[in-house]
């Protein structure tokens, strides 16, 4: 049943080299509409590099990436964003001196249509546009339950809340696919539970596919529909969480080393 869903993102035979180091070697997988795809692997397996290839920070030497049938391998990063591919980076990448609200508003600029001339005078169409953007941002604030920090400067917030604003920034883009790079790193159990719940809600409410890179195996096994496992730049397995748990290659490469 799951397999019948339409493929949104197609990664075909990607190979990425930095000089003599092969970061990714012949990796292929698909992301289907409405699913949460987990991307796991030991440190240095190439998970973040793979995301960097998708949103075009890196240039893979071989292979192609298709988004909704369109080849995106040669597009520049800002065009990727305009296509609706949003990414939350490892760590926090926000304007530390701005408030949470302003951080979210700033991302909306790609949707704003008025010229600099109109925007300089805060009335008429420009004002209407701003009100409309603010409404959308407030919906994200409500969704992520960050009302209480709306007007606080991001730099003064604890890490867990900053991460939440970061996720909010990606959502404010109204993405059609979301790439999350370790959104729960460094969080305590309760914060992780919250973020996991938001991810599931985003996936089901907005019906957008999510690619999730995460180290916490409990979370990945719980919320992902399918999982792709990388080791030293090679895809060693792909399947449902149940299949991955039983896959001997995965156990020896990843899970096995955790037990010991």
């Amino acid at each position: 049943m799951e397999n019948k869903k339409e493929v949104v993102l197609e990664v075909q035979n990607i190979t990425l080299k930095f000089g003599g180091v092969t970061a990714l070697s012949d990796v292929s997988f698909n992301v289907r509409n409405g699913e949460i795809l987990g991307l796991i692997g030991p440190n240095g397996a190439g998970k973040s590099s793979l995301l960097n290839c998708i949103n075009r920070f890196y240039n893979p030497q071989h292979g192609d990436i298709y988004y909704k049938g369109q080849r995106i391998t040669n597009l520049s990063p800002y065009k990727i964003t305009k296509l609706g591919i949003a990414r939350v980076f490892q760590g926090v990448q926000l304007y530390a001196g701005l408030t949470a609200l302003d951080n979210l508003m700033a991302t909306r600029h790609i949707h704003m249509k008025r010229s600099l001339w109109w925007e300089s005078f805060h009335f008429g169409p420009a004002r209407r546009q701003e009100v409309e953007e603010r409404r959308k941002v407030e919906e994200v604030i409500d969704f992520l339950e960050i009302e209480s920090i709306r007007k606080k400067t991001v730099g003064s917030l604890p890490y867990g809340q900053r991460k939440r604003v970061d996720l909010g920034r990606a959502l404010a883009l109204e993405p059609e696919i979301l790439l999350l790079d370790e959104p729960m790193a460094g969080m305590n159990l309760e914060e992780k539970e919250d973020i996991a719940r938001f991810i599931v809600d985003i996936s089901e409410l907005r019906e957008i596919p999510i690619v999730l890179v995460e180290h916490d195996m409990g979370v990945v096994m719980d919320i992902c529909d399918r999982i792709v496992v990388l080791e030293f730049g090679v895809k060693i397995a792909e399947g449902t969480p149940e299949e991955i748990k039983r896959n001997p290659a995965v156990i020896s490469a990843y899970l096995g080393s955790q037990e010991g």
Partner: protein
């Protein structure tokens, strides 16, 4: 129960005709009088949305008729659980308008608690704010034979329940009601006229410090009487801004938020989220509101924390002004004339220090700040008085509505003077007995307990140990059953000591241990993780979790002087001799606190028996494994080595 005579001449407006002996009648009158002025504000998506009295009237009417259309009738109950929102108030008024009864449930109740209350009250509808609360009801529908529908008002996260036959949206009920109204014009008004002062208005389930919660049956007349007393003492004027924060499941919010609202036509403001209340308070500039001691203490510690981060000059100004504030507050509390010298100094302090602080906290327009639920520490109390904030204790219970309140006459150490028409006496056991025109009708389906609590001639056993000063002022000691004695016979009040200790912003919670078999007092302390954590960061002490931080030798040494300070106020034979920093916080979900954050002593006592024994046995270290329950139902174990430390006499 006597019929309550409604005299509203004291509010400056005289009324003629039409008896106003029930809440829906009062509400209808208020809506007719001021249809287009603002009745409520609710902040949503960052904007204060206004509702006029006419909006409210229509919503209440249609919700009531919607329920009627689904078979709701006289004497039926609706459970309501959720944050303070207009819908909460509307649903209650709607139920009452057609002769029904509302049953408020605290928002953080777990499904088992909700199941008990909903089943015991035979509720036919459940109004639950959002997905989280609906989920709780959905887990227990098979144990609630009377329940027909679960109605929600916050649609976020409800997409998954579209097909669920139990679930219904608030607006759908309104639409049903509108249709019903078209088909049966005049029905609603006729129903309102049928509700009288002696009908039940709410079932208020007590927080259950002991055993199962009991449903207190409160009539329209009692609530109206309570509202009259409150507004008289708080000097409420129509149009005053009120901030609705404490749960309407608690009688205090029933009286202030709902009753004073429909009685006086104040404007009720609902914060956006419980977490935003401090900012929202500032935006509203409320004239009066009620906070529990916890929130008042939070306000104070907010200022204390900001002071540690502020510039030298500002903290200097604060340090210079506060003693002057205390001095003047002292004169005021003693009702002495303030000497001109102090008065002029005070007005300077007001300008450069107190007013900015009050502004920062959102208390600038505050006429009266009420505190209730449990006793506020005297130090917090004095601090607010020094800033010129008119803080007032209010004491009461669901069973008798307000008993005493400070109002304009504040005496430190008391919990206010008796309200008009209330009689009080102290029994031989030291228990406060109260007789009031607003006595409740009994506990729902529990005549035995009712008979235990009310004497044949109408005195209600409060269960509180009090003394009466000058015939009309109450001094609260403790719950009667909680007054404890030590081995030597020395009596002490655990709550009193705990409140004094909680004044320290390093201590979040504390429980005092000691009984007839023990010779001294033991304190089990939960440190305030945020504040102690901040202190540790500044002192360059590395830590990971609460478990780790609480067991640091330095943290023990930080807590020690706090205990010594409180010990100075205690008689020698009942001083704290030892203490332990607990590795986890007290948690209502684990049954360690009631929903109003009171300690459940017997539970805690049993849980920490090994620690207590070790402490009295003279040990200095205990190894302990605690079981923790995660939200998804899994259980885990935490192992910790706990230190026990001696307080000693004056070893600061």
């Amino acid at each position: 129960m006597t019929n309550v005579n409604i005299d509203r001449s004291d509010s400056g407006r005289t009324k003629e005709g039409g008896s106003l002996d029930s809440i829906p009648k009062l509400f209808r009158r208020m809506c007719q009088e001021r249809s287009d002025s603002v009745a409520m504000r609710k902040k949503a998506f960052g904007i204060w949305n206004e509702y006029t009295w006419e909006n409210c009237y229509q919503n209440v009417k249609h919700f009531a008729l919607g329920m009627v259309a689904m078979g709701f009738g006289k004497g039926d109950k609706i459970c309501i659980i959720g944050d303070n929102d207009p819908q909460w108030f509307w649903a209650e008024l709607a139920a009452q308008a057609v002769g029904g009864i509302s049953v408020g449930i605290y928002i953080d109740s777990v499904p088992e608690e909700i199941q008990y209350i909903a089943a015991h009250s035979e509720s036919v509808f459940a109004l639950a704010k959002d997905q989280e609360q609906c989920d709780k009801f959905l887990q227990i529908t098979d144990q609630l034979p009377n329940l027909k529908k679960i109605i929600y008002w916050d649609p976020s996260g409800m997409w998954a329940y579209k097909e669920n036959q139990w679930i219904m949206q608030f607006d759908e009920v309104l639409a049903l009601g509108e249709k019903f109204d078209r088909e049966h014009p005049g029905f609603y008004e006729k129903k309102i006229d049928e509700v009288g002062s002696d009908d039940l208005a709410i079932l208020s389930y007590t927080s259950g410090t002991t055993g199962f919660p009991k449903g207190v049956m409160v009539t329209h007349g009692s609530l109206i009487w309570g509202a009259v007393q409150m507004s008289k003492n708080c000097n409420v004027k129509s149009g005053d801004e009120y901030l609705s924060f404490v749960s309407p499941a608690w009688i205090a919010e029933q009286l202030l938020g709902i009753m004073v609202w429909v009685y006086h036509g104040i404007t009720v403001n609902f914060p956006e989220e419980p977490e935003t209340v401090m900012q929202d308070l500032r935006e509203i500039g409320a004239a009066f509101f009620l906070f529990g001691p916890k929130q008042w203490e939070d306000l104070l510690s907010m200022v204390q924390i900001r002071l540690t981060d502020t510039t030298l000059i500002r903290s200097l100004v604060y340090k210079m002004c506060m003693p002057i504030g205390y001095k003047v507050a002292e004169y005021e509390l003693a009702r002495k004339k303030i000497p001109a010298f102090w008065k002029s100094l005070y007005s300077i302090c007001m300008l450069i220090c107190f007013r900015p602080i009050r502004d920062y906290l959102g208390l600038r327009k505050l006429k009266i700040g009420l505190t209730g639920g449990s006793l506020l520490g005297p130090d917090t109390f004095k601090w607010f008085r020094a800033l010129g904030v008119n803080l007032s204790e209010v004491y009461g219970a669901s069973e008798i509505t307000p008993v005493s309140i400070h109002g304009r006459e504040v005496n430190l150490g008391t919990i206010g003077h008796l309200t008009d028409g209330v009689e009080a006496q102290i029994s031989d056991e030291g228990e406060l007995l109260v007789r009031s025109p607003a006595l409740f009708k009994g506990y729902y389906k529990d005549p035995d307990t009712t008979a235990e609590k009310i004497t044949p001639d109408g005195w209600f056993h409060t269960g509180d140990a009090c003394t009466i000063k000058d015939g009309r002022e109450l001094i609260y000691l403790d719950r009667v059953k909680d007054l404890l004695s030590l081995k030597g016979g020395a009596k002490y009040s655990a709550t009193y000591i705990e409140n004094r200790l909680k004044f320290s912003h390093y201590i979040k919670d504390v429980m005092i241990i000691g009984d007839e078999t023990r010779e001294f007092l033991l304190a089990m302390i939960v440190i305030d993780f945020n504040n102690v954590g901040r202190w540790a960061e500044k002192s360059r002490i590395p830590y990971t979790t609460l478990i780790d931080l609480s067991q640091k030798q330095e943290v023990y040494e930080l807590i020690l002087p706090e205990l010594a300070r409180v010990n100075e106020t205690l008689p020698k034979e009942s001083q704290i001799k030892r203490f332990i920093n607990l590795p986890k916080e007290f948690d209502a979900d684990e049954g360690e606190l009631t929903r109003t954050r009171k300690l459940k002593r017997s539970v805690l006592w049993e849980k920490y028996m090994d620690l207590i024994d070790a402490a009295y046995g003279g040990k200095n270290l205990v190894v302990r494994e605690a079981e923790v329950k995660y939200r998804d139902g899994r259980k885990g174990k935490i192992r910790a080595e706990l230190k026990i430390m001696d307080v000693g006499g004056n070893n600061i």
